[in-house]
């Protein structure tokens, strides 16, 4: 069975400090992995994706994530948080099934950024 676990429901950081949002996945096959961000009352926006190329993936707004197969992890990081980063973040795994790929979302991590 495939699944994705976001280890923290809430993360709070101060502006200018590093951000770490943790994600672990379970998949019988080589997965594709994504991070999406959802700002209040706005649609989901893709931050970055991993599709079996480079294990360190760079995304928009200074975010990056590293695929670690041995740890089945895909943690999202940013060196310095900005107030505008406050939002809900979703880790997503895409797995191959008969007929195409199936997308599974994590429960989400809400990021708070303090001034």
């Amino acid at each position: 069975a495939q699944s994705v676990t976001q280890l923290d429901s809430h993360v709070s950081v101060s502006e200018g400090t590093p951000v770490l949002l943790r994600c672990n996945y379970s998949s019988s096959y080589s997965p594709s992995l994504f991070w999406y961000v959802q700002h209040p009352n706005k649609g989901l926006q893709l931050l970055l994706k991993y599709t079996s190329a480079a294990t360190l993936v760079k995304g928009i707004n200074g975010f990056e994530a590293e695929f670690k197969k041995s740890e089945t992890s895909f943690h999202l990081t940013k060196p310095s948080a900005h107030m505008s980063d406050a939002a809900e973040y979703f880790c997503v795994v895409s797995v191959l099934r008969t007929g195409g790929f199936k997308t599974i979302f994590g429960a989400g991590t809400r990021l708070f950024v303090k001034a």
């Binding site: 706005k42 989901l44 893709l46 994706k49 007929g99 195409g100 199936k102 979302f105």
Partner: protein, 117 residues
């Protein structure tokens, strides 16, 4: 490039009533998805279309939910009759293609917030 369009943005109904949501994907996108996002949870896939055929509807409560994608473009999702637990945001997404061997980025619409009283 125009994004994924959804309407209405908000809907309030009483339980046992019917409701329909509409989605217009990005032009040329063959794959269309409907998700249900309950407050405090991640989106859950309800149904996935490839052109006008259903690829996955394993999590669609078929006794009350139905969806169609006539002509492989626009799609409608219907709930009949609605229950209190159907209160959620219904998200539509589309991707360029999703055939075996290729994963594509999904682009999401703004969602429809449904409140069932």
């Amino acid at each position: 490039e125009a994004g994924v369009a959804q309407s209405p943005r908000y809907k309030i109904i009483e339980k046992r009533q019917s409701v329909a949501f509409w989605c217009n994907p990005i032009s040329g996108h063959a794959t269309l998805y409907w998700y249900q996002q309950i407050l405090g949870q991640g989106p859950k896939l309800l149904i996935q279309f490839q052109n006008n055929g259903v690829v996955d509807d394993s999590q669609l409560p078929k006794d009350r939910f139905s969806a169609e994608r006539l002509k492989g473009v626009d799609s409608t999702l219907k709930i009949q009759p609605a229950k209190l637990e159907d209160s959620a945001v219904y998200l539509c997404a589309s991707s360029l293609r999703n055939a075996q061997g290729y994963t594509d980025t999904q682009y999401f619409g703004p969602g429809t917030r449904l409140t069932v009283l």
